[in-house]
Amino acid sequence: MTPDPGALVNSFREEVDVTVTGLTLLVLGLFVLVRATYPEQVSQEVLPAVREEMLALFGPLFAALMVVFVLFALVIIVGPWGKIRLGGEDATPTYSYPAYFAMFFSAGIAAGIVFWAAGEPLFYYAFETGDAGMPPFVGEEPGTAAAERGAMQATFFHWGISAWSAYVAVAIPIAYYAYNRGGPLRFATLLMPFVGKENVTHPLAKLVDVLAVFATIGGVAVSVGLVGPQFLSGVEYHWGTETTDADTSIVIVGITLVFIISVVTGVKRGIRRIAGLNLLLFIGAGLLVLALGPTRYIIANTAWAFVDYAANFAQMNAAALTTSGDAAWYNDWTLFYWVWWFSWAPFAGLFLASISRGRTLRTVAATGVFVAGLATLLWFAVVGNAVLYTQSEGLVDLLAIEAFPLEEVAGFATFATFPFGEVLVFGLFALIITWIVTSADTSTLVVAILGTKPGIAPETATRVFWGVLQGGMGLGLILIGGADALQTAAVVTGGPIGVLAFVGIAGLFVEFSRFAREEVADQTPEPDPEPEPGTEVS
């Protein structure tokens, strides 16, 4: 059946939240206009200066917030509140656990996991301590065995349980208030214990939703845009060919079409299945690298990486809190990652909340922090150690590849040296696409929810609108410039989002504490007899 364009437009007009959508478009339009008028100043002076100033002033605050989010997740996992079931005691999960995990895990990280698993340890291993090189806590010469361990330890720190805790800190309060207190499934629901259920959809509260939409579009549209050139770097490197802007457009338009189809078909079809495929590819590629690469080296160094990470976790957090002396490295890496994860938290957290009805808070937190964190770290351990082995044993001098950014081709160059390297290289190409599609489809769903009137699940027209906007922005930013500026702007939004997440968990603890003397299972509030429409999106 061919969709009726008139009906689609009417559907969009009926369900659009004018405040959130209008303000978001206004902010994005202003951003594009200012960036086009003052390209150099915005990209190279103003935004980087704002980011630097923000990290210099509030860096310790962000480091502290990340510690709080990790502690919050641990308290939920081991404490009595973990028993609380989202949707009430009788609620049952909508999705099987493997599908649930695959969707959340695939949404929370984009194609960066493919590139940075290969690139980041190499940066730390090969270069002197400074803005880009070895972590200051290693205290060894670059290129040594100690540098290898330090490189993996620092990489684990940035991609481990902290990142996923930030998502959980957003997901759990929103899911609790949506499913157990009848609130709407929106980012502004974090404020519900302070402003009341009726005010979560107040125009002022919607400013919080606008912040979330801007951060999401900034983060994901830029990722969609950047994946084109990154994918093409692999093609150029592997086949020794040259690509053009037209090729970039083909990749981005293709990705956009796929993630729009995925989000239109919904969580139960496109989003769930592509996430499942992504997870299978991810596990398969990881196992193949382990089997075909330097297996002994990877296993031994993976064990050390986990030991070093666990033993030094508190020390690294403390160092990030007190960045005096080594501020440049922490600002450029650790704190940058922290605000980057914060800026992704509204969409990843809201999506996690949207699929968590029927699960206990403990399951949500443990899945988010331990299962997703462990899967991420195992991938980084396998790929990162394979790359370090390739460099340290001189199989390929990855640092001598000057025609491409190191992180974009280190994986391709490494895998090509292994038996059946073509299979591994193919796997990398496939993973780049599936990782970005699985993040872009879920982020499109989340911004469509936020851009729709409370209580209504977004229909096809709204999903297509936001999908085209995300893909179009990604393409436009790459072709006419400005991706770096929007990425920096999105990162800047991470600061206030981190604070809002803290407000959300503080409110949740206050609410839970009211019932502290009673048995938790007995005091779990019953869900509203009439759950807020649109709290579950298909």
Partner: protein
Amino acid sequence: MAGVLERVGATTTGMQLLLLAWLLSGQLLAVAFWLPEIGEALSATALILVAMTFVGAGLAYLALLPFEPERAAASG
């Protein structure tokens, strides 16, 4: 043949076209990977078109397959 297509969910012309595009581009891509001189002989645009057709058709096909309860209802 019709039975095979039905089993894999390619019950409409659109789905059959997607499946055909996926299979053909997959074969081309496999040749480009396993015989690098062929891959290197192709232009970058051709390689990328083939790769994106393979990935795009496959993922779109996967997304468009009917939801299992819908399929059960249709067949039951």
